[in-house]
């Protein structure tokens, strides 16, 4: 499988990823010194 259904390009290498269990529409990523919360 080579094609994801959604793709997001962050500003730097992503080190951490958390998909909220209580808010399944949101995914949090951590890169450089930034935490971003993405809407799926």
């Amino acid at each position: 499988m080579a094609d994801p259904i959604l793709a997001y390009k962050a500003g730097a290498e992503i080190n951490q990823l958390q998909w909220s269990a209580s808010q399944p529409d949101w995914v949090a990523i951590g890169f450089a010194s930034t935490l971003q919360i993405l809407r799926v």
């Binding site: 962050a10 998909w19 995914v27 990523i29």
Partner: protein, 159 residues
């Protein structure tokens, strides 16, 4: 980084059994893939893994397995018989723990190594992966063949 963060492990005895079986079976699979001629070398290992895992196949609780080395396998959350492995390369491999030598899927969208993966909490067929190429990718596994239901081995007891 993974060495530090993926050291938490509950039900350690199961983790250890799973880890060794899965990594052994997976290594066998890689070896078979590399050699042009397919061999039956993984068969005994597969049987052992099945025996060990059959009793736990219904487990859907998150299960974090210990990371073996920085260049080795990272096994993440167990969800409905499936685990996700990140190879040291850029591919993410989904395994059915009952048949660990045959990957269910290989996700190849990252250009550099993958650092994190997560199952969708609300869906059994979505995974998010993120890596050194700055990308966060969400994958839909719905198109994959359904996991095998029920026992892979049947015994009849009539005489």
């Amino acid at each position: 980084m993974w060495n530090r963060s993926i050291c938490f492990c509950w039900r350690r005895w199961l983790c250890a059994a799973l880890r060794s079986e899965i990594s052994r079976a997976f290594n066998n699979h890689i070896r078979e893939q590399r050699s042009p001629r397919r061999s039956a070398s993984s068969a005994p290992c597969l049987e052992q893994a099945r025996h060990k895992l059959l009793g736990h196949s219904g487990c859907a609780a998150p299960l974090i397995l210990q990371h073996e080395s920085t260049s080795g396998l990272i096994v993440s959350h167990l969800f409905m018989n499936c685990v996700v492995q990140v190879m040291d390369s850029c591919s993410v491999v989904v395994l059915d723990i009952r048949i660990p030598s045959i990957p269910v899927a290989s996700l190849q969208g990252h250009e550099q190594s993958v650092n994190a993966i997560a199952w969708a909490p609300h869906s059994h067929c979505h995974i998010c992966s993120a890596g050194d190429d700055s990308q966060a990718l969400i994958w839909d596994l719905q198109a994959l063949p359904r996991p095998i239901e029920g026992l892979p081995i049947l015994f009849s007891a009539h005489h």
